[in-house]
Every structure is written in structure tokens, then in C-alpha cells.
Symmetry: C2
């Protein structure tokens, strides 16, 4: 069962996830990914979708052509959990490839 991130883990976020924006309003993190084509954007989404099923933790995401806007939060804890950090790191890693 996921637990809400404690303050120590939160203060690490800016270091471990420098490209993500923290939203206090929703207790969520956000990143907009841009690709050179829809093909690449949807390829990224497909890799993330399989990881999401494996983790049983799913992003909220908006896709407009080559752009994928991702919001991560954990509904079960009504805020950020370690699952969001893990998912964000996974996305950063495959985006960088």
C-alpha cells in the first residue's frame, strides 16, 4: 500500500526530479515532454503504459501531436507517494534514451 511522501522525501524531489514542477494545489508533479513526431510521442506513451500496468500506477496525461503533458499523483493517498517518484524517474530515463 502506497504512503504519502514525508517531508524528507519531498525535499529531495527538486534534486531527483529537476524537470518536474510541483503543484501544491493538487499535491502532484507535472512535466511536459516534447518529441520530434507523434510516432515518437506515442511510442513513449506505449512504453510508459506497459510500466504503468506493471506498477498498477497510472499517469494522467494529455497528448497533442508531439507533446505529452504528464501529471502524477496517487489517488489512494490523495497526494504524492513513492510510486509517483518511481514513475517520474522511469519516464525521465526512457525520454533521455
Amino acid at each position: 500500500m502506497a504512503q504519502k511522501l514525508d517531508s524528507a522525501s519531498r525535499s529531495n524531489l527538486t534534486q531527483s526530479l529537476p524537470q518536474w514542477t510541483f503543484s501544491t494545489e493538487r499535491d502532484a508533479i507535472f512535466r511536459s515532454f516534447r518529441f520530434s513526431s507523434f510516432n515518437k510521442a506515442f511510442g513513449f506513451m506505449t512504453r510508459v503504459a506497459m510500466q504503468a500496468e506493471k506498477m498498477d500506477h497510472h499517469p494522467e496525461w494529455l497528448n497533442v501531436y508531439n507533446r505529452v503533458d504528464v501529471t502524477l499523483t496517487t489517488h489512494d493517498v490523495d497526494g504524492l507517494s513513492e510510486l509517483d517518484v518511481k514513475m517520474a524517474l522511469f519516464m525521465d530515463r526512457i525520454f533521455a534514451q
Copy 2:
């Protein structure tokens, strides 16, 4: 090259696409699809993504777990075109399967 829908085509929309909502603000159409799981929602998106590449016409869509909110409009004509109608009919057809 796509052309903006004329008024005759527009008046047919409510009959051919009864599940879609027309937004005058953006000259776009909208439908929210709900599935029984993320797997099914993303499977739907994958089928649509391949069709979108084939048509070179891509949806704007937001996915939150089992929900896919779709907005269709044609950027080249700054409004609705026949491509949006074709894409909406394709989505309706595979959703019904």
C-alpha cells in the same frame, strides 16, 4: 488539403455523431470514452494512434486511467473538417466493438 466543414455538413453532425458534443468556442467536437480498465482504454488509444498516423490527422486526448477524453479539430483550417468526422466515426466504430 482539408477544408472547413460547410453548413450542410455541420447540420448532419448531430445525426452522424450523436455522442459527440460540439464546442463553438474552438470549432471542435468532444467525446469522453469510458472503459472497464486502463488496458482497454490504452488498447483503444493504440488502435486510434495507428489510424491517426495513416490519416496524418491526430486527436487531442486526455487519458486518466479508464477514461479517454477526445477533442477533434483540424489545425490547418482552424476548425472542423471532414477529417474530424472521419476520425470520430472510426473511434465510435472501434469503441462499439
